[in-house]
Amino acid sequence: MINIVGLQKSFGRQKVLDKVSLSISDKELIAIIGESGGGKSVLLRHLIGLLKPDRGKILVEGEDITKLSGRELDGIRQKFGVVFQGGALFDSLTVYGNIAFPLKEKTKLSRWEIHERVEEALEDVGLRGMEDKYPAEISGGMKKRVALARALITEPKIVLFDEPTTGLDPILLHAIHKLITDTHKKYGFTGVMISHDIPEIFHVVDRIAFLYKGTIEVVGTPKEIRASTDPVVRQFIKGSLKGPIEIS
């Protein structure tokens, strides 16, 4: 589904991604973990064409999106749904308006059909009755759920989650993870999630990729990652202060 080949990106003199290669299968749910500021969000932004790499390829269903721009890139973007870190909800629109927005702008569905889809999405994320609230009037957890509903409303083939649970309490964290797994089962999308939730993430995804020093250090199932003898991975999972990862 998605093939990242030798991706390199630098900002000035700082090399953020250094020959990142990763294959993501169809309908797989994969998490990218790694140090804060280690380039995970930069990698995710490359997948949707928000950033252009210095070198390397990103093949989405066989098409190299790093070579595309304008309408061609927009065509590929139709396959994606994105849940941004802070939700990125439109301040001027209500919860209903935010969820309905992609359908209103990108499809020719009737007002009634849009209404039905939005009602279903609100039901999925447990936000019935909140339709008329503005983003400023709802909690952080609700914003994440609205963002999830907005990302899924067009039933995209691929959904990118940029730290969907950051800043949430443990109960909400589990609620969002359950929501992601439930919607993954229902819609069958390919999911790429950036997460810091260790060990909770082990119960959510099919595979985990560990990004370290700008490159993918290890990829494997949660079981394989847990059993990894790599000192970097072990230190990261344990959250230990001692080890090869230096705190900057």
């Binding site: 932004r45 949707i48 928000l50 927009d74 065509g75 973007r77 139709q78 994606f80 994105v82 941004f84 870190q85 802070g86 990125a88 909800l89 439109f90 301040d91 927005f101 992609p102 702008e105 990108k106």
Partner: protein, 256 residues
């Protein structure tokens, strides 16, 4: 010496790159304005924000500008015994210079800064990225309606500024200083023509595009965090104000 030359060269190149970037931004946003789909609902919202909500301050500023002009004009004209020329002394500078310039500066302070902050916050809260990720062009949604609204609103607000200013001058000249009402308006008609009004409209149109161009650009490419937005807003207001005065001078030399 080589170091100094290198520094100047590097600064000049960077400034040229920034100007080119800004110019491409303007061309892109204006080109989208003529291509469907047109966002009429957003356009109406922007007209309301830039135009309707600026009315109070425009009326207030316009009336006092006219009143000050009449007061100072009367003081000067009385010295040369030409009080009868108070009407054109108020109307001519208002319509040709002060109306377009001061209304543009007022709108920059009231609406331009708010637009930069609004777009800047949308940038740092990833709302612009969200639009791009949805395969929707953020320029079409955020910039074009504001630009078109400015092209519609600036001449209209300038016209209101001028009319209110002329009546402000009338109040001081006729009601307070005892000039005859007929003299005030008839001399105005005698000394002015359509060319003066046309110049005012051209200027306000130019200022509208300039202000929205700078304010939208600064917001769209704002820096990180609250500091980035604050810096972008300050830069937008300062740059717009300076450009208004520079453009006013050059347009003035064109039309004189």
């Amino acid at each position: 010496m080589t170091g100094l030359l290198r520094m100047i060269g590097s600064w000049a190149l960077s400034a040229l790159r920034k100007m080119g970037h800004m110019f491409i931004f303007l061309v892109q946003s204006l080109s989208y304005a003529f291509r469907p789909p047109f966002k009429f609902r957003i356009l109406l919202r922007e007209i309301r924000f830039i135009g309707t909500k600026s009315m109070t301050v425009i009326v207030l500023m316009g009336s006092f500008t006219g009143m000050v002009l009449a007061l100072q004009g009367f003081y000067l004209l009385r010295k040369v015994g030409s009080e009868a020329l108070l009407g054109p002394a108020v109307a001519l500078p208002l319509i040709r210079e002060l109306g377009p310039v001061l209304s543009a500066l007022t709108i920059t302070g009231r609406a331009g800064s708010a637009l930069t902050a609004e777009i800047g916050i949308m940038r740092i809260s990833e709302q612009i990225d969200a639009l791009t990720a949805m395969a929707l062009n953020p320029m079409r949604y955020l910039i074009v309606p504001k630009m078109v609204a400015a092209i519609i609103v600036f001449p209209l607000l300038t016209a209101i500024y001028n009319v209110v200013g002329i009546y402000g001058g009338y109040f001081v000249g006729v009601k307070l200083l005892g000039l005859s009402s007929g003299t005030y308006f008839s001399q105005m008609e005698h000394f002015m023509n359509m060319e003066d009004i046309r110049i005012g409209i051209y200027k306000s149109l130019t200022f509208g595009i300039l202000v929205l161009w700078v304010c939208c650009y600064k917001g769209f490419y704002t820096g990180y965090g609250a500091e980035g937005v604050s810096k972008a807003t300050t830069e937008a207001v300062v740059m717009s104000s300076v450009l208004i005065l520079i453009a006013d001078y050059f347009l003035g030399t064109l039309f004189i």
